[in-house]
């Protein structure tokens, strides 16, 4: 068998060359059996170096009986069965088959070195084409060209399919990159600044203006770019005034359109912040802590918007805005009628930005009462009525009680769902009783997969657990330490 040594000036040792000995004798193949350097992928594998011609040959596997060629070994085997060979000849050689790894025939290439061999023949073929081959396949929509047909096909599928454009003009094909860019893009800051001329400015860029309690409340008329709220309760509208007084209604948030300006949202969480430089201690107002519920309203166009208004489960969020503050929390959270947002009760650690929550003007209403009220209201199509009925929630007076339920809302209701249908709909999925043990809201304890996972879909907050058990806690298994040094393949 002709053996074609490829030129290798490797220092590592013994290059012993022997003939292949396998049953598929492609005439031009060159095989060099050589041990890989220790520590490299599978040191016992046999390194096969094929000449470019053989590598790209379409029919490497040849039937010894009729000389028919096949691209794959499996196909050859299937074919051989048809020859009705006597038993002995039918069996393949029983010698142990060594794993084969392949090197690129082009010297100077990274994969030319046996220690960088690839384990897959198809892989090395593709690599060879990609790196050293001619790019015959061109994308119609953009300028990219490919040497490997499957690469070209894969690209064509996604080319131009999704595009995210930042206001600064940059285009992204991946949402992740787009979001990350947006968070830091200066355009965002400017936009927000512009849109909050009347409202209280939150943004910490200017420490000086922090203490202005400009009446900001809700930017009620949605700025023009945003679509009108689906059903904004009347009370909300009236809230335009800076005196936030009581925004009793839950605000059904307008679905933000795909504009990249979520800050144009009508109801925005405006946090009065006292931007402080590091080192200053907490904000003074902080101590009051209202529980403001800040809903997450999602405006992202790419997420299924629906939500809110469409949803049959409006969620009330109430915030006791105080005279100095603005509220908002649009909470379309499906978690129950009252939302208790973060209770910012922690002692003020040195922090930079703190949303200030002004003291709620209203007396506390217990969560239980609220829920019962909500149940009585029944589920309504619009959030407004429900919220109106609920009154304002003030949580400061009974933080503990509320918080206990607060914890529950994340999961469903903190109360047994004995109430009517309205209440049920407010609950997540069809989950039943929420275990009121709030000591550790250990997510592992949640267990149940709660219902549907349709983000934005009926407004019901998705059970992030999705299907299955969620998490398997892995105890102390035996550590499979495959690494002796560098991990390879």
């Amino acid at each position: 068998m002709p053996v074609d040594l490829d030129d290798s000036s490797t220092v590592s040792g013994d290059a012993s060359v022997s003939s292949t000995g396998n049953q598929n004798p492609p005439p031009q193949s060159a095989v060099k059996k050589k041990r890989n350097l220790p520590g490299m992928p599978d040191p016992d594998s046999e390194v096969i170096a094929l000449s470019p011609k053989t590598l790209m040959a379409t029919n490497r596997f040849v039937c010894e009986i009729c000389s028919k060629g096949f691209q794959r070994d499996q196909n050859l085997q299937l074919h051989r069965r048809g020859h009705n060979l006597p038993w002995k000849l039918r069996q393949r050689s029983s010698k142990e088959v060594r794993k084969k790894v392949y090197v690129c025939p082009v010297s100077g290439c990274v994969h030319h070195d046996p220690s960088r061999a690839l384990g897959d023949l198809t892989g090395i073929k593709k690599h060879f084409c990609r790196k050293h081959g001619e790019k015959k396949y061109k994308c119609e929509k953009c300028s990219k060209s490919y040497a490997v047909q499957s690469d070209w096909k894969a690209h064509s599928k996604i080319c131009g399919s999704k595009e995210y454009r930042c206001d600064c003009g940059t285009l992204f094909s991946r949402r992740d990159s787009f979001i990350t860019h947006r968070a830091f893009c200066d355009v965002l800051a400017e936009e927000s600044a512009k849109n909050h001329t009347q409202s209280k400015k939150l943004y910490p860029e200017t420490v000086s203006e922090s203490q202005q309690k400009s009446p900001a409340a809700v930017d009620s008329p949605p700025p023009s770019p945003s679509p009108p709220p689906v059903s904004v309760s009347v009370s909300v509208e009236s809230e335009t005034e800076p005196e936030p007084a009581n925004i009793a209604s839950s605000l059904v948030l307008p679905i933000q359109d795909s504009s990249d300006e979520p800050e144009n949202n009508t109801l925005e969480v405006i946090m009065e912040e006292a931007p402080r430089t590091i080192g200053l201690n907490g904000s003074d107002d902080h101590s009051n802590n209202n529980k403001s519920v800040y809903a997450a309203l999602f405006a992202s166009s790419s997420s299924s918007p629906s939500l809110y208004a469409a949803s049959s489960t409006p969620s009330p969020s109430l915030f006791p805005p105080s005279s100095s503050m603005e509220p908002i929390s649009l909470c379309l959270s499906t978690t129950g009628p009252s939302l208790f947002g973060a209770t910012i009760q922690d002692p003020p650690p040195p922090h930079f930005l703190t949303p200030l929550l002004p003291p709620p003007p209203q007396p506390a209403i217990s969560a239980t009462a609220l829920l019962q009220k909500a149940a009585q209201m029944g589920s309504t199509g619009s959030g407004g009525s429900l919220l109106r009925g609920l009154g304002i929630v003030s949580t400061t007076s009974s933080p503990m009680e509320l918080s206990s339920h607060e914890a529950g809302f994340g999961l469903g209701l903190g109360l047994p769902c004995s109430s009517g249908s309205g209440l049920k709909e407010l609950m997540m999925g069809n989950s039943s009783v929420f275990d009121p043990k709030q000591t550790t809201l250990d997510f592992l304890g949640l267990g149940r997969a709660v219902g549907n996972n349709n983000p934005g879909g009926g407004g019901l907050s998705s059970a992030l657990w999705g299907g299955g058990g969620g998490m398997d806690v892995f105890g102390s298994g035996e550590l499979s330490d495959k690494d002796t040094g560098r991990r390879s393949s």
């Binding site: 960088r116 965002l188 939150l202 592992l444 998705s462 560098r486 991990r487 390879s488």
Partner: protein
């Protein structure tokens, strides 16, 4: 490469006159050492050959053999150019620069020998990114995005039901993971949430370097969170990896989490900077700062800890072992940048070169890059009473989709033995992502 004539002659003389010397020291066997000429025109040479030269050079440096160091560096410099066509050349060139730095610091007489005319100048001043630039840079390959996606998915699941979420982001990417986390919280958790983000000030001592302060960075993040209707607080704690983040831990102890608050500690390629046992070999393992950190972290009873690290062992005290491990790991980032545009590639490779130089040329506390293998990290986590948690299938599909949008060599594998997810390049392990809860 330019060098003064006399030096060249001197080297040549070395070879011919000192053959016996060379044979005796058995460093490079003449028969296996191809003539210099043939290597000079090689467009890349053999990676293992390059590696051997580098290892010999390392040995020579540590045995104070100035002459041999000089020869080897001269040869290496000839055959490996930082602008070479093949990634192997550029990789080797980065190592050559690192060895040069080491040689000069260990063997002061070489300082005058080398001069700037012979060798390439040491690694360039490292670029300072603007945050927007860094955001783009981070996504050039899945190197970081892999860990971001896996961790964010786990975090989302962990914090469901909590009204407050406190994320301690120990990441070398300066919070680049956070925008997508905020977005995910905003989109998927339909409930109000207070997001507290805490970072440490010492995350700016190694690349990538940014050109704004953390205060500004934080303000942008809060701005973004606000625009997504999430209340957010941003805190910077002055704390350093060199003492195992003791100030951070102390701060966390002082302000313990409330019952309805989730504490998530996200460790993205940062824990490797905490000194490990190899820095203080005489003390017992339990006292290594790395273990102390994990132990104290465990006592805070966090809701979840995510650990994403590079899967390589760069901790060995033995330079040759360490260099070999580094060479057999860092070829990967150099290979992945082959398709990049030249400016991006240059920046990217400069970052890696910084790390290579740190691993090869520095010792003691200056050598901060002490990456450990996945196996070792898993052992540590388990020793400190953490249990591994499997990432959900949805995350796996998201990861695969993301990988599909990058170059073809990227892949991933799930290790059934230990619930980890591993990012691979052409089959070789690159980065592992694990999720832990206290047990």
């Amino acid at each position: 490469m330019c060098h003064a004539k006399p030096q060249e002659e001197r080297l040549v003389t070395h070879f011919s006159l000192n053959r016996t010397q060379m044979t005796r020291t058995r460093i490079i066997s003449p028969t296996r050492f191809p003539s210099l000429k043939s290597q000079r025109c090689g467009s890349g040479g053999d990676a293992s050959f390059m590696e051997q030269l580098l290892l010999h050079c390392a040995t020579a440096i540590d045995s104070n053999d100035a002459a041999l160091v000089h020869q080897l560096l001269w040869v290496l410099n000839n055959i490996a150019s930082p602008d070479g066509d093949s990634s192997t050349q550029r990789l080797t060139s980065a190592f050559v620069r690192a060895l040069l730095a080491r040689a000069v610091s260990k063997i002061p007489t070489l300082f005058s020998t080398f001069g700037n005319t012979v060798f390439q100048p040491p690694a360039d001043e490292i670029h300072r990114f603007s945050v927007v630039e860094l955001a783009g840079f981070i996504d050039l390959t899945p190197w970081h995005r892999f860990g971001f996606i896996a961790a964010n998915e786990a975090i989302l699941t962990a914090v469901e039901g909590y009204a407050k979420v406190h994320i301690v982001d120990l990441s070398l990417t300066h919070c680049m993971q956070i925008p997508t986390l905020i977005d995910a919280i905003a989109t998927k958790l339909n409930k109000p949430l207070l997001l507290k983000l805490t970072v440490v000030s010492s995350a700016s001592n190694f690349p990538p370097f940014i050109n704004i302060s953390y205060e500004e960075l934080g303000s942008k993040l809060v701005n973004f969170a606000t625009s997504r209707n999430i209340e957010m607080q941003f805190t910077i704690i002055p704390s350093t990896y060199s003492d195992g983040f003791s100030s951070l831990l102390q701060h966390l102890r002082m302000y313990p989490t409330s019952y309805n608050e989730a504490l998530v500690v996200n460790c993205h390629m940062m824990l490797r900077y905490i000194p490990d046992e190899t820095l203080t070999p005489s003390s017992p393992s339990s006292l290594s700062l790395r273990n102390v950190f994990l132990n104290q972290l465990r006592s805070l009873n966090p809701t979840m800890v995510t650990l994403i690290e590079e899967d390589a062992d760069l901790t060995s005290d033995n330079l040759v072992t360490r260099l070999s491990s580094a060479f057999n790991y860092f070829w990967i980032p150099f290979d992945t940048t082959d398709t990049f545009m030249s400016e991006q590639r240059r920046l990217y490779e400069a970052e890696i070169s910084w790390k290579i130089e740190n691993v090869v040329a520095k010792e003691g506390v200056e050598r901060v890059e002490r990456t450990e293998t996945k196996g070792r990290w898993l052992e540590r986590m388990r020793d400190n009473e953490f249990g591994g948690v499997r990432v959900r299938e949805e995350a796996v599909s998201e990861l695969k989709a993301m990988l599909g949008e990058h170059a073809v060599g990227w892949g991933m594998k799930k290790d059934d033995d230990d619930e980890s997810l591993v990012l691979t390049w052409k089959g070789h392990s690159v980065v592992f992502a694990t999720v832990w809860v206290p047990i």
